[in-house]
């Protein structure tokens, strides 16, 4: 008798979980189908080395997308991340070439990212500029700084610490991926279990109600932008380590990748709903897609086209979900 009840309870619990995670599960299904198609289409796809390649690509995008998720959960937007990443990368390379300690450089990179986050938050909360416009403006400015730092030239990096980050591994898994996983898991933990995380969801759900309940909405948004800026700082370290060079053009043309990933993962433009897990699956899906096209040696211009299409599809999915919620 008791076991029957327990099974029933378990089934109910599972139903609840499936409903709760519906958007994550559906995007995961999409990812699996895509992988299945690619493994048939290309003999190279299912190889370990290929997965490591995908992982390395995700390490940069996935770190920033996690930071972006926090901002977007509060109904804001950050399009400046990739340019900020490039600018900070240039700065770190200059510092390294001038003999600054590598560990100190990493801290400076993260702190600079956080400062840019503050700037974004200032524009959004104090100057009341629409987040999308404000961060497009900082995106342009950061890109200009990246070019101005060397007049457009790239800089080589020959530092041992950075070499280890870029090419070393720990327990057989590249350090890049460790960084990605640790950052994602800790952010997911914070969002789920701390009062800060609860307030992030509350602010996204209804900023006015939060303000009336004594929550400092602007302060929350500031912290959100700091997190997304800092994630760009971390990503810059990963990015320059991967190629042993800092490029002022790094990430140009990829500015919308993270946004697409976040939408694919189940967040809505208004905020208040979604999880880091979803974003992570979204990033992976985009990475696999790009990887597959390279394996099938499709023209790079088609890849740009497809990215645009994925972005459209991702935001459309959000619209469909919202329309269904309204019924």
């Amino acid at each position: 008798m008791e076991t029957v009840q327990n099974t029933n309870k378990f089934i109910q619990r599972m139903k609840f979980v499936i409903k709760d995670y519906a958007s994550e599960i559906s995007i995961l299904c999409g990812l699996i189908i895509l992988c299945a198609i690619l493994s048939i289409a290309s003999p190279y796809f299912l190889q370990v080395q290929n997965f490591l390649n995908i992982g390395v690509y995700i390490s940069v995008a996935g770190t920033m997308a996690a930071g972006l998720t926090v901002v977007m959960l509060m109904g804001c937007m950050d399009l400046s991340q990739y340019s900020v990443m490039a600018a900070i990368g240039m700065m770190v390379a200059i510092l390294l070439n001038n003999g600054v300690n590598a560990i100190l450089c990493i801290f400076i990179a993260i702190a600079t990212g956080a400062c840019v986050g503050c700037l974004n938050a200032f524009a959004v909360t104090k100057m009341n500029i629409v987040p999308m416009i404000a961060t497009i403006a900082t995106q342009l400015m950061a890109r200009a700084v990246a070019f101005l730092s060397t007049g457009g030239k790239y800089l080589n990096i020959k530092n041992a610490v950075f070499k280890t980050i870029g090419f070393g591994d720990f327990l057989g898994v590249p350090i890049l991926i460790w960084v990605l996983i640790i950052f994602n898991v800790s952010l997911a933990f914070i969002l789920k279990n701390t009062s800060f995380g609860r307030k992030v969801y509350a602010v996204g759900g209804n900023p006015t109600a939060c303000k009336l309940s004594g929550i400092n909405v602007n302060k929350m948004r500031l912290v959100g932008y700091i997190i997304s800026g800092a994630s760009a700082g971390i990503a810059s370290i990963l990015s320059i380590s991967q190629v042993s060079a800092a490029l002022p053009t790094a990430g140009s043309g990829q500015e919308m990748d993270c946004v697409a990933a976040v939408f694919l993962g189940g967040l809505s433009l208004g905020g208040g709903k979604g999880r880091i897990v979803g974003t992570f699956i979204g990033v992976t899906l985009i990475a696999v897609l790009m990887n597959g096209m390279t394996l099938l040696s499709l023209d790079a211009y088609y890849q740009i086209f497809l990215k645009g299409f994925v972005l459209l599809l991702a935001v459309y999915l959000d619209q469909v979900r919202q329309a269904r919620n309204r019924l």
Binding site: K199, A202, G205, C210, L212, S213, G214, N216, N325
Partner: protein
């Protein structure tokens, strides 16, 4: 050929002369958690004014929105001029002669009076298809004469007009669209006596032209003055239609409320304690020298017409609007309130008038909403103490009798009354001293209203002071221990429960 044409013409005339301009039969509309309109019939004849009265949440607005095409009804049929309408859009409603003038006027602030009247139907020059301004002005003047606005230049921008003039422009717009059925929702809420009288004269004239008019109002005097028949709604049902000559105001009230005053407002005498909150000379860009005192266990009612300043008083008190001069004392100590956070720290709680947009996080659960203010205090070992969270939410949803399948239910799916109880639970959990209620029973069904009054009384018995803003006269009169009447950003009068009458309040609220 000619005869056929004459026949058709006459036939159409006969049809349009069917006795009722509008007939709504068996209208039924359900929203998640509440039946808004339950099998209601409504009929208006040509050249007749039907008053539709009832308390807030009785279903009047839902009926009107169904008529205007904004909602479609779940069951029921609508006939205009004897013709069945089927499902229709707001545009189709306008085309078939139905016009609604809402309490919140709908106009284009930066466009001219003439353009506002003829919006969607602006005359164009034959050849060039450009706007024919000469014709537009000529036609606008014609309509303006109709509604008594001939003294205004048709090219004046709408924003420069007074509220009553704007309203007349809206009536003009309906007229220009050849309205057959005109609905007015609380048209006098922002008008003074003289402007009201002008409006009534206009209504009489429209009536003579054979227009059917549905008139919605809370003010029973003007209902008697203006209407031929009166239909009363309560709890989503129609509870009777009477000729305006055959019904007294008392009968109307009894039909609207459906229960005696002590059943409706179960608030008994309490012990009023020492002063809890004192406001002295509160002034800002909207308020002028507002002073009042709230005692422990007391319910202080604030009443004012739309835009009078009640909302601003409580919002300033709660730190949501800046205070340019004046002092606030809590428990005899002077406090500085610059934000809602300061207000909360000083023991205040604020239940806003817009439950859905300001009170709740609709996409979140009952639990998340109830513990929102406590979330920082619930942190233990770097994580939220989930057991304690559940405990608190269960305890308080039970205390306030929130009817929901569980505390994990999303608040969006609850009825208005239960949503309001969740908002109250959130605040009461924070143990406030001063509870500020802004329209606490707006859009809530009568049963839940009574429950909420009971809760408010309980809170008062525990020593809380309650400030209640309400636009419902009966609510203010029968729940408050004292009533302050607000007009133009000032407190104009103060009445005790014994002194207060509807006439006194209204007079002062109109600024007389």
């Amino acid at each position: 050929m000619f005869y056929i044409a004459v026949f058709l013409f006459l036939h159409e005339r006969v049809e349009s002369l069917s006795e009722f301009a509008l007939k709504m039969e068996g209208i039924y509309k359900e929203f998640p958690g509440v039946v808004a309109v339950n099998m209601v019939d409504l009929e208006v004849r040509h050249g007749e004014v039907l008053a539709l009265i009832g308390e807030n949440g009785a279903g009047k607005s839902t009926m009107i929105k169904i008529l205007s095409g904004a909602y479609s009804c779940d069951k029921g049929t609508i006939y205009v001029d004897g013709k069945e309408m089927g499902r229709y859009t707001p545009k189709q409603a306008i085309d078939s002669g139905i016009s609604v003038i809402y309490q919140e006027l709908n106009y284009l602030n930066y466009m001219s009076v003439a353009e506002n009247i003829f919006i969607g139907n602006i005359p164009l020059k034959k050849k060039s298809r450009l706007v024919d301004y000469a014709e537009l002005k000529r036609r606008s003047i014609e309509v303006q004469k109709m509604v008594g606005l001939e003294h205004i230049d048709p090219m004046t921008t709408m924003g420069q007009l007074s509220v009553s003039e704007k309203q007349l422009v809206e009536i003009g717009r309906a007229y220009a669209r050849n309205v057959k059925i005109l609905v007015m929702d609380e048209p006098t809420s922002a008008l003074n006596d003289r402007e009201c009288e002008k409006l009534f004269q206009l209504i009489d004239m429209l009536k003579k032209q054979g227009k059917a008019i549905i008139y919605i109002s809370h003010k029973l005097d003007e209902v008697v003055r203006v209407s031929d028949r009166i239909q009363v709604m309560r709890d989503g049902r129609s509870v009777g239609v009477k000729n305006a000559n055959d019904i007294t105001k008392n009968e109307m009230v009894n039909m609207m409320v459906g229960r005696t005053i002590t059943e409706m407002y179960p608030i008994s005498k309490r012990e009023i304690g020492e002063p809890l909150l004192e406001v002295r000379g509160m002034t800002n860009h909207f308020l002028k020298d507002v002073s009042f005192t709230l005692h422990k266990g007391e319910i202080l009612g604030l009443f004012g017409l739309m835009g009078a300043g009640c909302d601003e008083i409580v919002r300033t008190l709660f730190g949501l609007m800046p205070l340019s001069s004046g002092e606030i004392f809590v428990d005899g100590k002077k406090v500085a309130i610059k934000s809602s956070k300061d207000a909360i720290k000083n023991g205040m709680a604020y239940v806003p008038s817009e439950r859905k947009t300001e009170g709740l996080i609709l996409m979140q659960s009952v639990k998340a909403n109830i513990v929102l203010l406590q979330i920082d205090k619930l942190m233990k070992n770097f994580t939220v103490d989930k057991n304690r969270e559940t405990e608190l939410a269960l305890e308080w949803s039970k205390k306030l009798n929130v009817k929901a399948p569980g505390i994990d239910t999303i608040t969006e799916s609850l009825s208005g009354g239960n949503q309001q109880k969740v908002v109250l639970a959130k605040w009461m959990l924070n143990k406030p001293k001063i509870l500020i209620l802004n329209e606490p029973t707006k859009g809530i069904d009568v049963g839940a209203k009574v429950e909420i009054y009971k809760l408010i009384e309980d809170f008062c018995k525990q020593g809380l002071g309650v400030i209640m803003v309400s636009s419902e006269m009966a609510e203010v009169m029968f729940t408050s221990d004292r009533v302050h009447v607000v007009y133009n950003g000032e407190i104009r009068a103060e009445f005790t429960k014994e002194e207060v009458t509807q006439e006194k309040i209204l007079q002062r609220a109109m600024g007389e």
